[in-house]
């Protein structure tokens, strides 16, 4: 797959050209493309003078990075302790069976990506589901259809 890499110089210009900037650069690439395209990683490695192997190891170590493209809507189920004891796992079951994918996967039509995150710090509202930037608080098992509809 080819990606528009013309934005990379912009991203590179935001940070000092040194190995230390690697994570910040990758974060911005992730934000721009919604994942880390292979070609972009190669360019970042060259630009920052970091071996590609190290770029790969950093890209796979941190949860924030994904080497696979994500769907239009990224659904994140908070799996913090509070969300867990208030039934987040049951909500995960519902979303997984409705979308036909497991957490960490993307639907084949590239519409939805389902993710589990550790804690988003909104524990008083548990369980919490976030679709792109929209928060759903105090989610009940029977509200998953509504969440998928975007209501």
């Amino acid at each position: 797959m080819n990606h528009d890499l013309s934005k990379l110089p912009d991203i590179f210009a935001r940070y000092p050209r040194e190995p230390q900037s690697l994570i910040a650069v990758l974060q911005d690439i992730q934000k721009e493309f919604n994942f880390l395209p292979c070609e972009a990683l190669k360019e970042a490695a060259q630009h920052l003078d970091v071996p590609l192997s190290k770029v790969f190891s950093v890209s796979t170590f941190y949860n924030a990075f994904s080497l696979n493209p994500k769907g239009e809507k990224v659904i994140r189920i908070c799996m913090g302790t509070t969300c867990h004891i208030r039934g987040a796992a049951l909500i995960q079951d519902q979303l997984e069976s409705k979308l036909g994918i497991n957490a960490g996967q993307t639907t084949s039509d590239m519409k939805y990506t389902l993710e589990v995150v550790n804690c988003v710090g909104a524990c008083s509202m548990a369980p919490v589901v976030i679709v792109n930037d929209k928060y759903y608080a105090d989610v009940k098992v029977n509200q998953t259809k509504k969440i998928l509809r975007g209501g």
Partner: protein, 621 residues
């Protein structure tokens, strides 16, 4: 407004008077809480509606400038919150449609909108002033002092409350050694959970001849169920910057980093804005307040890895590398960031520093207990009635926190346990409720202070499930560098799964205890060393519950899927068909008005029927 750099401590005094005068222009103020909880519940909509209404209604002496978008006010449970000061009129669960009434009745006619006030769920008493509400009354706020009272990102607001006074005091009247002495006298211990003396840490760094020295603020807050640091970084970022600058002066550093989780985009944004503003005012950057002291702060965004809360892993991550910890015998104070001497403190620790410098170490040491001085912020969450962000003096008992502040357990169910210390902490049962909350007492009881997540559990929470949850978390977050942690925790997790599925024998418990001992002894860093805690503390206090899973193949809390069934209570069922519609696998049959039946062979135990039944006719057995 044109910004002039503050050229001297005197000029700061002048600016403070000017800022205070600005504040007095509006005798009444409207505080809209924009903390994480309230935002998730629609606070942004409330803010824009207030702006629109205030513009339209033209209330005398009350314009848009009298409204503040504040950080977390604390009582997240009741959000979105709107407070009218100085009366303390406290409106809860405010919706967009309520805004016009608040503007007309309270702001124009000085009347209270009764149905938006907080009513205590058990006492049924309604409160007009939030300071009287038990949730607030029993608290003492130092680290959270400005949250809910000032504009999140406004340095002038911060200065009006006496902000950057402590930095000025340190730079002009105290030597670096005297600053360290004050912090040592205060007895402040690391609020990230380590509990190491902050003053002594600074002292060790200051003594090292090698340069440069670095100051890092740990805003990684990886413990699930904790959001104190997020609230401080978003709601009062300048207090963190000021604390860091004072530290930098004390240890002779000119460069600092704040390591913030990617999951907290607002914290990143507000800290960036706060740094920019502080630099423009000459409160950060070169020649701070016209003195020789210079200090620059950069933000480093974390990539979402729990292990990066560990000091050496965090420093490698700041350096753009994989966050793997190293062996503990090399101290990060000596060889920290880029192998240079480094002070690493947590957000809450830094937020306490300005108050300690201003009021003196002795004043701070008088609060709390002898060995754990001061106050501690907690996120009080879970099955508790009043959940939110709190701060109490050290030595407050768990019972006071859960019952006086937290209002007890939801739906009047029996209390079961309170979990503190995040994945490395433990669960304490009812018999431990009268323990004093301080570093040493909690550790002795088999849990730990941790960074301040306090998760309350009721009888519907299964401790085996909780242990399994934390172990899974740790397995996923283990960096994989050392074997005891990588493999040991995984085996421990598999055994916990076996118990939750009713397949374990009692000898498995022995295996788990043995394995735990090895993991604790042989792991490289704190993640592995405390990894077995979720299991050890639950088996210590809830062995019976483990045995119920093993011997009786029963989950008393009704959580472990393999051991429960959902059934319809024929007495309670009115045949409304709600559960039939909710069931995704068509396991429920029955006609309208008739008792429904669940086909156990088809049921996948998703819990949807249980959630939709208004008559509580679905029972878990």
């Amino acid at each position: 407004m044109a910004i002039t750099r503050i050229a001297s401590p005197k000029a700061l005094d002048k600016l403070r008077t000017e800022c205070q005068k600005e504040q007095q222009k509006h005798p009444r103020k409207l505080m809209v809480c924009c903390g994480p909880g309230c935002l998730a519940n629609g606070a942004a909509e409330i803010v824009s509606e207030f702006k629109a209404q205030l513009k339209k209604k033209r209330i005398k002496g009350f314009d848009v400038e009298a409204m503040k978008e504040t950080g977390c006010h604390g009582f997240c449970e009741q959000g979105p919150l709107v407070v009218v000061e100085p009366q303390g009129t406290f409106y809860t669960r405010v919706k967009k449609k309520d805004v016009e009434r608040i503007v007309e009745e309270t702001l124009r006619n000085n009347k209270i909108v009764d149905n938006l006030l907080y009513t205590h769920p058990i006492e049924k008493k309604t409160y007009r002033d939030y300071r009287e509400i038990p949730f607030y009354k029993h608290q003492k706020r130092i680290a959270l002092r400005n949250l809910g009272h000032i504009n999140q990102c406004d340095v002038r607001d911060y200065i009006a409350t006496g902000g950057y006074q402590a930095l000025a005091k340190a730079l002009t009247t105290l030597s670096p050694t005297e600053v360290i002495e004050q912090v040592k006298t205060s007895g402040l211990r690391g609020r990230g959970g380590g509990g190491f003396s902050t003053g002594r840490k600074w002292e060790s760094c200051a003594r090292l001849a090698e340069r440069p020295h670095y100051v890092i603020c740990n805003g990684d807050e990886g413990d699930p169920g904790a959001f104190m640091d997020r609230a401080i970084m978003e709601g009062d970022p300048h207090s963190v910057l000021e604390g860091m600058a004072i530290c930098a002066y004390a240890v002779d550093s000119s460069e600092g980093y704040i390591y913030v989780r990617e999951e907290y985009p607002l914290a990143v944004q507000f800290l960036q804005e706060a740094i920019r503003e502080a630099e423009a005012y000459g409160l950060l950057g070169d020649n701070i307040l016209g003195t020789d002291f210079s200090f620059h702060i950069k933000i480093s965004r974390g990539g979402g890895a729990f292990v990066c809360g560990e000091s050496s892993a965090l420093m490698r991550s700041v350096a753009g590398e994989v966050g793997e910890p190293r062996a503990k015998y090399i101290r990060s104070v000596q060889k920290g960031l880029f192998d240079k001497p480094t002070v690493l403190n947590n957000v809450e620790s830094f937020a306490n520093i300005p108050v300690i410098i201003e009021r003196g170490g002795k004043w701070y040491a008088r609060i709390g207990t002898e060995k754990s001085t001061g106050t501690k912020a907690f996120s009080l969450v879970g099955k508790v009635v009043n959940s939110g962000l709190i701060e109490v003096p050290m030595g407050t008992t768990l019972r006071q926190i859960v019952f006086d502040i937290g209002g007890g357990i939801r739906d009047n169910r029996p209390f079961k346990a309170v979990q503190t210390g995040g994945p490395s902490g433990g669960c304490l049962p009812e018999s431990k409720l009268d323990l004093s909350v301080d570093f040493d007492t909690l550790t002795k009881a088999g849990s730990m202070m941790g960074s301040g997540g306090m998760i309350v559990m009721d009888e519907g929470t299964c401790v085996v499930d909780v242990a399994k949850y934390f172990l899974k978390f740790l397995v996923e977050e283990s960096c994989g560098k050392c074997t005891p942690c990588r493999e040991g925790l995984y085996q421990l997790y598999l055994l916990a799964v076996k118990i939750s599925e009713g397949l374990a024998t009692e000898s498995d418990l022995g295996k788990m205890e043995q394995l735990s001992a090895v993991i604790i002894d042989a792991s490289l860093c704190g993640l592995g060393k405390s990894g077995p805690n979720p299991f050890l503390s639950t088996i210590q206090y809830f062995r019976d519950e483990y045995l119920a899973h093993i011997r009786d193949k029963r989950c008393p809390a009704g959580v472990c899927k393999a051991l429960i069934t959902y059934e319809v209570d024929a007495q309670a069922c009115d045949g409304c068909m709600a559960c039939i519609r909710a069931c995704a696998v068509n396991a429920i049959t029955g006609k309208k008005g008739e008792v429904h039946v669940i086909d156990q062979a088809k049921c996948n135990k998703c819990g949807a029927c249980f959630a939709v039944c208004n008559r509580h006719a679905i029972k878990v057995a």
